[in-house]
């Protein structure tokens, strides 16, 4: 006869694990809370002044000689870089995903899908290094510019767009494709105007998330876009970006620069987190409307 007289000990263990796992969640979420809190405390003062978004970042000046400081050039820089990167990665990514999903040609489609999946795992610094190794070295006129920076970011964004577009296309039921073809619509029109449109919410969300990812990247821009404290005058010159500003000013010994970095951090953080939350809500609502879970 087996005695289960260690019952109390078993229950205690189960409850202890429940408590420990709850503590684990708290420990895991603490950094998120801490980062948002610190960003507000240290950057809130600077951020909530209108000129922060238009003024130029401070060079090494003391609190007395800098009247207004801001992150204007870097916001513009980020927008330009993301614009260039999206201009490349969105068409390329969507078309490549269409090929992989709609034209499954002898395993080539699967190779593309697998490659894109693998590419999402490549460290962003490597993407920057690869752009550096070719474009920066062999094209000295645009070596450090919005062009190379945009290229580096597009290398990061494209695999993400491919994967999310592919997922979105995959979910579109085949009946939609068959109905379109049965109506005599040519395949390319059917794909673009009907299937892709059906997948549009997922695709748009994927693009948005890729953009947010690129907006936060500093590593690949360190030796491509290089960074700048002035408003960009052309695409062929070094250009600033928010993450670069944060990096440079974070390491600065001058407290006013550090303050600007915190302001930029708060701004970037709020932007990314809000876009993330909103896009999740939108996906959820869209999925519910389409009758999914």
């Amino acid at each position: 006869m087996i005695h289960f007289d260690r019952h109390a000990r078993r229950k205690l263990l189960s409850h202890t694990i429940a408590v420990l796992s709850g503590l684990a969640v708290i420990a895991v979420l603490y950094p998120l809370v801490s980062i948002v809190y610190e960003a507000f405390v240290l950057g809130g003062g600077v951020l909530f002044q209108a000129q922060f978004f238009t003024a130029v970042p401070p060079n090494a000046c003391s609190a007395l000689s800098c009247q207004t400081v801001g992150i204007g050039p870097d916001i513009v820089g980020t927008l330009i870089l993301i614009g260039i990167a999206s201009g490349i990665s969105v068409p390329v990514g969507v078309l490549a995903a269409i090929f992989a999903s709609e034209y499954r040609a002898r395993g080539l489609g699967r190779a593309i899908s697998f490659t894109a999946d693998v590419l999402t795992g490549v460290p962003s610094i490597i993407m920057g290094a690869f752009i550096y190794g070719y474009f920066v070295i062999y094209y000295p006129t645009i070596a450090y510019s919005a062009y190379t920076g945009g290229l580096a970011l597009s290398a990061i964004m494209t695999p993400i767009v491919v994967r999310t577009t592919e997922e979105g296309l995959r979910v579109v039921p085949n009946s939609v494709r068959e109905a379109a073809l049965a109506l005599g619509i040519t395949k390319w029109k059917a794909t673009l105007r009907i299937v892709l449109i059906a997948a549009l919410p997922a695709v748009a969300t994927g693009v948005l998330l890729a953009i947010m990812r690129a907006a936060g990247e500093a590593a690949p821009l360190l030796f491509t876009a290089l960074g700048s404290n002035l408003y960009p005058t052309g695409l062929g010159h070094p250009i600033g970006a928010l993450p670069l500003l944060i990096y440079f000013f974070a390491l600065s010994p001058y407290s006013n620069q550090v303050k600007v970095a915190w302001g930029a951090t708060l701004f970037l953080l709020l932007l990314i987190l809000i876009v993330n939350i909103v896009s999740r809500l939108l996906i959820h609502r869209m999925a519910v409307r389409m009758g999914g879970t």
Partner: protein, 252 residues
Amino acid sequence: MLGGDKIRTEHLTAYYGPKPAISDVTLGFAEHAVSAIIGPSGCGKSTLIRCLNRMHETVPRTRVEGQVVLDGEDIYQLDPVRVRRRVGMVFQKPNPFVTMSIYNNVSAALRFNGRPSREETDRQVVRSLQQAALWDEVKDRIDAPAVSLSGGQQQRLCIARALAAEPEVLLMDEPCSALDPIATAKIEELIKKLKEEYTVIIVTHNMQQAARVADNTAFMYIGKLIEFGPTEDLFERPKESLTEAYITGRFG
């Protein structure tokens, strides 16, 4: 009713969300007997049996009213973990632990209590497999993966696994519905032997099976207990017209 009631329900009502799946069921199951619960789909027989070992509440948004009394104690006042050790269950679709061997499946319950000695575990495993009439078929490959067995063998493995926990009551929720006739016959043989040591309660959609193995049978319809009594009486001299309609095949 033969012998005393080992386990009985008192005005048991069980809900899925706002809807009651069974209402006001009062029913006693005799010790060392096989009791069957029959009825058309949706009559609540599975819900009823899952209340007897407190598995019903593991599903979200469920509720139970009333009592289930095991040896004089209401199981809803006891620790569910203890209850489930005393009231074991075999499921409709065999569900051996897929990552484990035959041996480890049977000994699973023993290992919840720390590590009994190897000899002790071996003895229990052999005994349980013999009780489940599976020992001869697996004694040469006791460390083989459980999923390498056939459907009928897997179900007997699940029976052995449940018996290794040394329950007092064994619940069987349509244990043969996923099996072929030969495997079904083996398990029915088994059930008739098991009542010597355990109290067996079996849910079945197959009336002939109830007639073959059960000492007592309960007939349920849309969540209510219609009739309950010795199997022979229920089938040959049903008291309710509904019962008679069901067993003569007029519906369900």
